[in-house]
Symmetry: C2
Subunit: 361 residues, 2 copies
């Protein structure tokens, strides 16, 4: 690897001249000099040493990306979009970390980023406690959080980029209602994160709007395993057995995300129930895997590429100008209709428990 001094020697100029062209300070430079420098750079195939630049400027074109587990297809999808956008649009590289939703791992990741001189970090978490994030910001990190709206009233020097979770769940429930379902359930893993709370509100508001408030329950459970990537699917599978046994049994299920929906699909099948014959299921996320399921999963699609672009722009933008205040960015979801939703079975709509549609409340 050649250094800036090698290039200077080769071009017959001083190192500062090289540094100047490297940093675009070429206005008052003689064209001929610039030419010679450019030639020397490519002749030696010179690349500036980032560590040296970093030491000097405190800046380095790298971002941290924290995910619960990159083996989870949803995080893999987001990570791909984030990395691609950071790289192609801004020339930044991405340092990845799996946290398994563990606070200490998150803190350790922030420590290491700081030690490496990486100042921007993108966080996908769902930890209830947000204090170590604010602490990391105090220590100099510029942070953007995905899918976790700021706690109302909290200070937050952190950007928040997320889908409109309320709307997503509302869309899902409304779709079920529109297809004739009268017994609904929102199915989720235990642990109330901000986003789950909003999804539940959206689900309930759709039900209430149709006069179905009393027929919209929330069913949750936790996985046996501590943290695996099949965790969500495991929860869905387990809850499916419970749902199959409920009376009245809900005919329309809104899953908190696609992975949990996959578990629901498998679990309902195990229980001898047909989807969408006996029970309709709708997911949230819009993973490409959903179209491969049997039946293909109807889902609420998140605009992941657009969200990723915003996330990256925000970190890099605020890295360049620390005065830009943190903000919230909400994206609109979209219903993707496939095969897992159908009208409820005749027996269900004839049942005594089913209220008349749009009855007064």
């Amino acid at each position: 690897m050649s250094t800036i001094a090698d290039v200077a020697r080769h071009a017959g100029v001083s190192v500062s001249t090289i540094s100047n062209v490297l940093n675009g300070r070429v206005e008052r430079m003689r064209a001929e000099t610039l030419e010679r420098v450019r030639a020397a750079i490519s002749a030696l195939d010179y690349r500036p040493n980032r560590a040296a630049q970093q030491l000097k400027t405190g800046q380095t074109p790298m971002l941290g990306l924290l995910v619960p587990s990159i083996a989870n297809p949803m995080y893999g999808y987001i990570a791909r979009e984030v990395e691609t956008s950071a790289q192609e649009r801004h020339g930044y590289r991405v340092v990845l970390g799996n946290t398994y939703r563990n606070r200490d791992k998150e803190v350790g990741f922030f420590d290491d980023l700081l030690a490496h001189g990486v100042r921007g970090v993108i966080v996908i978490s769902s930890l209830a406690d947000e204090r170590h994030f604010e602490q990391a910001v105090q220590r100099g990190l510029v942070m953007v959080s995905y899918d976790r709206r700021a706690t109302p009233g909290a200070s937050s020097a952190i950007d928040h980029v997320s889908v409109d979770n309320h709307e997503a769940a509302r869309l899902a429930a409304a779709h079920l209602i529109e297809r004739g379902h009268r017994e609904l359930a929102f199915v989720t893993a235990s642990g109330l994160t901000m986003s789950r709370r909003e999804k539940i509100r959206g689900f309930r508001s759709a039900a209430a709007a149709a006069g179905l408030a009393a027929h919209a329950r929330v069913i949750d459970g936790s996985a046996s395993s501590d943290y695996g990537d099949s965790e969500m699917a495991d929860v869905g599978r387990m809850l499916a057995a419970r749902i199959a046994a409920e009376r009245p049994r809900p005919t329309g299920l809104v899953a908190v995300n696609d992975m949990l929906a996959y578990g629901l699909l498998a679990g309902l099948r195990d229980a001898g129930l047909s989807v969408p014959g006996d029970v309709s299921v709708i997911g949230m996320d819009g993973l490409f895997l959903s179209s491969l399921m049997s039946p293909a999963l109807t889902t609420v699609r998140l605009p992941v590429p657009a969200m990723a672009r915003t996330i990256v722009e925000r970190v890099i933008g605020r890295l360049a100008d620390p005065d830009i205040p943190a903000g919230e960015f909400l994206f609109a979801p979209e219903l993707e209709s496939r095969g897992s939703v159908a009208p409820p079975p005749a027996s269900a709509s004839a049942s005594a428990s089913a209220p008349v549609r749009r009855r007064r409340t």
Copy 2:
């Protein structure tokens, strides 16, 4: 962030003393001094600046990880295992890059790693041309490649860690044969990578051993999209339609990987065929998603965590001692029997095309 000078001042010693304890040179140090230094370090919550260390030593605890796309669940799985092992067992961080199987992107990634002072890289590729890898090694990178055995006779300063692909496909085909299948097909995406070639050989050898050489075809196709993560599944889905129309139609399908098998499952369903009633399907990889498919996919499981550990140990080991020669590391796969394999339908085994089992060749 405090510096080594701050710590030295705080402890009332020189910076070299601090550096000495940082680097474990404490044998001939007075216990009391060591104590004071340790106290100062934790009092100031001091972390050495990695960029400065890197500049001085040329080393930094980071690894590059190159994948075609992290949104592909298999690469996500491997990436998680690699990152976790690098972090927890060696204290290394991981820089991730998506290449979309694009040569220029791979080269650009190597360039950036070098510029950042990252010397170790793990590569998951399937590009036919390996020259830019060797070039990167020349430029100073220590490289480990996943699932791509060295071209026989090639120089290779690159470690190769992979599953025994021949054995994996042999296992799959043997399982089908053992269940009574007589018309077999190996289904894959077009483009002969090293690993696909070996899988095909393994598939054929199992068929030959059962006297079924003439009844074991290879079916391949390419996706319409350039590179998407659903690429493999798309290929499977498309090929399923073709397979459904074949006469005699194979009853036992070995898919080159799980993702393609998912596409096969969906496509066969589209074609009105039942799995495993009409056709049996077996995948390769052992993704957790496979157990969620309908029917649950029988597959050949790769020992991913063990492979990831070896991969990481090799890069880091050879980073520490460049004299260690590159090697090949082969792992044994294992059959995971689930619901997508059953005996062939009676009509198939009665067909004129079916040879007698173990007939002489």
